[in-house]
């Protein structure tokens, strides 16, 4: 983890372990608490927290672990996750509500309803997935805080 601040820019970064459901969500909570602390409005903080948590769970469940970062400045909050997992063969399919490839372990924890990526997109103003099978996935989701 590294926290840095420079000219109204804040970056929060965490490494996420695959399959660690006990610690999962800790990084997103850190991001949320930081947003609250710097005075981001509750509705925007909540949207960012949902994006971060869903994306963090995707790293835990699907990505084989990876990295989550929040880049915050005067204009936006950007959540970026990167992994070197199996990749997403059909991104359009993965974005359909109800489609899931989650394993039984994830389902037993209350995940795997096929709502994760659609929910990230729904809460984002800018949303992009770059994925390659066998190489990994980078997700970027941003919220405009100037509105």
């Amino acid at each position: 983890m590294s926290d840095g601040e420079e000219k109204n820019k804040i970056r929060i970064e965490h490494s996420i372990a695959a399959g660690d459901y006990l610690k999962a969500g800790g990084a997103s909570n850190d991001i949320k608490e930081t947003l609250k602390m710097i005075g981001i409005p509750p509705n925007i903080t909540r949207r960012a927290a949902i994006i971060a948590y869903e994306a963090e769970m995707n790293l835990v469940i699907h990505g084989g672990g990876g990295n989550i970062a929040a880049n915050i400045d005067d204009k936006q909050i950007e959540i970026v996750t990167t992994d070197h997992g199996p990749g997403i063969p059909d991104v359009a399919l993965a974005l359909q509500e109800g489609y899931t490839t989650a394993n039984d372990n994830a389902r037993s924890m209350g995940f795997g309803a096929g709502m994760g990526l659609p929910n990230i997109k729904r809460n984002s103003d800018v949303f992009n997935i770059d994925s390659e099978v066998g190489k990994g996935t980078t997700l970027k989701a941003a919220i405009d805080i100037t509105k």
């Binding site: 459901y21 006990l22 999962a24 969500g25 800790g26 997103s28 909570n29 949320k32 509750p42 509705n43 909540r46 949207r47 927290a49 949902i50 971060a52 948590y53 869903e54 769970m57 037993s108 924890m109 209350g110 995940f111 795997g112 309803a113 096929g114 709502m115 994760g116 659609p118 929910n119 729904r122 809460n123």
Partner: protein
């Protein structure tokens, strides 16, 4: 109605943060065992009713500003779940009733659904 009123009327057992119960006013609730759906459809400030017991319950309510959790069907949350809830100031209440009956009793007392199927900005 306060969470304290609800816990007493449903014979709930309070696992942590008992001192907060009287200060939590409950107007809406969301009942689900799917955290994915809670994250997608629950409005802010609603009470969560669930039968899941793992630590991700607390993580989910942290993200959504859910003030407290009712566990139904006599399900007892795991130690790590209770510990994280206590550290986070989130009351946990155990109920012996099933989810359907719990929802019915709360609805009869005036608690409404917090289902949000629309715009996350609302």
């Amino acid at each position: 109605m306060t969470l304290d009123d609800i816990a007493k009327s449903l014979n709930g057992k309070i696992l942590c943060c008992e001192e907060k119960l009287s200060s939590i006013t409950v107007e809406k609730a969301f009942a689900s065992d799917l955290m994915s759906d809670v994250l997608a459809f629950c409005k802010p400030g609603a009470l969560l009713i669930t039968g899941l017991t793992n630590v991700q319950i607390v993580r989910t309510v942290q993200m959504l500003d859910i003030p407290a959790v009712l566990f139904v069907r006599g399900k007892v949350p795991l130690d790590e779940t209770v510990n994280l809830a206590r550290d986070s100031g989130i009351p946990l209440v155990l109920l012996g009733t099933a989810m359907f009956g719990t929802c019915g009793e709360l609805y009869a007392k005036g608690v409404l659904s917090s289902f949000d199927g629309g715009n996350p900005n609302e």
